[in-house]
């Protein structure tokens, strides 16, 4: 088979990496995620076209949820003859009937250059469903340096809580400090995404950090455990104490990013993509005052790390699989990852991490170096969502209940029991 000639191993093989086979006359149809953060990489497609003689026709480029809807409609309509497509770990289990196993097309040598945990996250039912690009997400804790450097605040905090005011190591400290800094309506201690999969994801990572799990081995919901109640109570307590903005339940990621950049929030557990934005004086009021540390620990002593990543997949119906595999490899290779990661997102290849950090150190950008080392540490604690097709559907049953507890309509236990009941019924319907 392998018209796709793949090389890997470090810099010595970089020159050979440019040779990828002759695909003259081949046109690959592709569906990608669109948006500022994702599109610069697609400019590299012309390099692949020059090197292989193949052509890429991007037939769709939409936002995260829009492209997901389109792909689902394609599966329903059976119009899946395009070749290369968008994928994400949260959605991947739903697409297993659409995308093919990449292992026969991508040499083990190449796979070994990715972080093993991420290849594992991309593998469903033993099939490698996607090759991850440099769009790996895990959260770290951003904080306002000036607040922690203020001697008056340090003194007052120590008197009230009995320990030094330093960026939080645990979620309990996180809560203490958020409540301490809060001065509503002018200033808030922290914030969190309050709806849809976003709030369930945050709850999930706190649950895991507290020693709990969403489901047991038989896929029965277990998130209403003691650890789950403790996790949900964290959100409830912050809301009750007015340490978060009152509209937080309508917030998703953009609201959090703009809120922290507006200077009205002390602590923000958030994604790596915001790092540049927070420190850009043209867009952020807190530029120069931003610190980043690894995510806090839960009550089990484990750090939190709900993570996601984007990747490229190949459809089963693709009639040019070797060319498609070549393009997928090209878009996730060392150079593409370094290109994409140099703009902010995190790489998924281990060598690219090292090269990126060396590049940043050489440039003398202290903030970027701090960001990268915090996120490199944060990535060690990363874990993906449970791998079953109904994950997103289950989050739609869970999040209204989380919200009900946060606004005080139900206790944490009542809300989680109700959510577990509904998710359990859904799982039973699907034969779990």
């Amino acid at each position: 088979m392998s018209a796709v000639i793949l090389f890997g191993a470090g810099t010595a093989a970089q020159a050979k990496d440019e040779v990828m086979g002759d695909f003259s006359g081949v046109t690959l149809k592709a569906k990608f995620i669109g948006g500022n953060q994702y599109e610069p990489l697609y400019s590299r497609i012309t390099d692949w076209e020059k090197a292989t003689g193949g052509k890429v026709e991007i037939i769709s480029k939409k936002s995260h949820f829009e492209i997901d809807k389109e792909i689902k409609s394609d599966i329903a309509a059976g119009s899946t003859d395009w070749c290369v497509g968008y994928n994400h770990v949260s959605f991947a289990p739903q697409y297993t009937s659409l995308y093919t196993d990449l292992k026969p097309y991508i040499p083990q040598d190449t796979l070994d250059k990715f972080s093993p945990a991420l290849i594992d996250a991309a593998t469903i039912n033993g099939e490698l469903q996607m090759l991850p690009r440099a769009q790996f997400d895990v959260s770290a804790l951003y904080y306002r340096k000036s607040l922690y450097a203020d001697p008056a605040k340090q003194k007052a905090f120590k008197e009230k809580y009995g320990y030094d005011l330093t960026p939080p190591e645990t979620f309990d400290q996180f809560k203490d400090q958020a409540i301490f800094f809060a001065d509503p309506p002018n200033f808030y201690g922290t914030q969190y995404a309050g709806k849809e999969e976003a709030v369930v994801g945050r709850f999930y990572e706190l649950l895991v950090a507290n020693g709990g799990q969403m489901f047991d081995e038989d896929w029965k919901p277990t998130f209403n455990s003691e650890a789950g109640q403790q996790a949900l109570q964290w959100f409830v307590d912050l809301y009750k104490a007015k340490a978060v903005p009152p509209g937080v339940l309508s917030y998703v990621w953009d609201d959090l990013g703009s809120g922290f950049a507006s200077g009205s929030v002390a602590l923000d557990l958030d994604w790596p993509g915001w790092a540049g934005y927070f420190n850009d004086p043209k867009q952020s009021k807190i530029a120069g005052d931003v610190g980043v540390v690894v995510q806090p620990k839960g009550s089990s002593g484990k750090r939190t790390g709900w993570s996601g990543m984007h990747g490229f997949s190949m459809t089963k119906d693709c009639d040019q699989k070797e060319a498609a595999a070549s393009l997928i490899w090209f878009l996730t290779n060392h150079d593409s990852q370094l290109f994409e990661a140099s703009k902010g997102p995190l790489p998924t290849r281990t060598q690219v991490w090292d090269d990126l950090i060396a590049q940043v150190k050489e440039s003398g950008d202290g903030y970027r170096a701090e960001v990268l080392s915090a996120f490199q540490e944060a990535s060690k604690h990363a874990f993906a969502v449970p791998k079953f097709p109904e994950w997103v559907e289950s989050t739609n049953l869970i999040y209204p209940e989380l919200q009900a507890a946060i606004v005080g309509d139900k206790t944490a236990k009542q809300a989680l029991d109700e959510a577990a009941q509904r998710v359990g019924d859904m799982m039973a319907d699907y034969g779990y």
Binding site: S97, P246, Q403
Partner: protein
């Protein structure tokens, strides 16, 4: 003489019949069929599994579905009445204007020119708790707290209603204004001669003339509001804790996010009852109003 297979009228109408069947009837029947299956977008084979009325039976037992149904009914009723009253007020004011009436009519229609998605974003920003204009304005007037417009149990629906009413009151205003302009002068002058007060003239002459126009506007808007989606989805996505969940936010989430198209179609068929009820009700009212004015028999 040979008998023709199809008569000329049927033959001439055939293209229209075929097009209507293709774009309306077939999707309608297909969606009705899928509501009796567990059709999941990501599992195309589920399209062929017949489960009878199970989707409907499940919905009849689903408290949250009926809560959304009732909420949609309440939103519809409040929005229609307020839009009608405000539209009537606006139309009466504009009708009184002796100068610049055309300019006023055009300005009045501005909100209708915005896409509902943009209206949603605009009002989401206005009602944002921290950076929103409403809270900032209230704080600059001395308010010392933050009002969570998009979160509070009652205020969240109020915020959505504000956006709906802002964007669509002009539908009522324009139609009622058209009615006002069409009122014959004779009865009004006769009332003046008979010494009627302004209220009596409005109550017994102007309003009955306007009623058919109002009911036409209500019919159109009841269909619009019963399928309200864009503004609600942008502003609150039905939350928090289902406080602003309306039928179509629920249906779209079930159909497109959860990929449960069979269940979503069952919800949609039940929700159509709401539209049918309001359309039927307003048409009856419209006929009654026209009969009163000596119109329809």
């Amino acid at each position: 003489m040979k008998r023709k297979f199809l008569s000329p009228p049927v033959l001439l109408l055939l293209p229209a019949i075929i097009i209507i069947a293709a774009v309306v009837l077939v999707p309608l029947l297909l969606s009705l069929y899928t509501s009796f299956t567990p059709f999941k977008l990501t599992r195309p084979d589920t399209l062929y599994r017949w489960i009878g009325v199970r989707n409907y039976a499940r919905l009849f037992e689903d408290y949250y579905f009926w809560a959304a149904f009732l909420r949609t009914f309440v939103v519809l009723t409040i929005a229609l009445n307020l839009e009608m009253l405000l539209g009537l007020g606006l139309a009466l004011l504009v009708n009184k204007a002796t100068m610049g009436q055309r300019a006023l009519r055009t300005i009045m229609m501005f909100p209708m020119m915005f896409s509902p998605i943009l209206v949603g974003f605009q009002f989401k920003f206005l009602f944002n708790d921290t950076v929103g204009l409403v809270n900032n304005a209230l704080q600059s007037m001395g308010m010392e707290r933050v009002i969570p417009w998009l979160v509070d149990e009652h205020l969240a629906l109020f915020s959505i209603l504000s956006a709906e009413i802002w964007s669509s009151t002009s539908v009522f205003a324009i139609l009622i204004l058209a009615g006002l302009m069409a009122i014959p002068r004779d009865p009004l002058e006769a009332a003046k001669v008979d010494g009627c007060t302004a209220w009596q003239t409005f109550r017994h002459i102007t309003l009955p003339y306007l009623m058919p126009f109002m009911f036409i506007a209500m019919t159109i808007r009841s269909l619009d509001i019963a399928r309200a989606y864009d503004i609600v989805q942008i502003m609150t996505a039905g939350g928090p804790a289902r406080r602003t969940e309306l039928l179509w936010t629920m249906i779209s989430r079930s159909g497109y996010v959860d990929a449960n198209m069979g269940l979503a179609n069952a919800m949609a068929y039940i929700s159509i009852l709401l539209s049918i009820f309001f359309t039927f009700y307003f048409f009856r009212k419209l006929m009654a109003a026209r009969r009163y004015m000596g119109g329809a028999q």
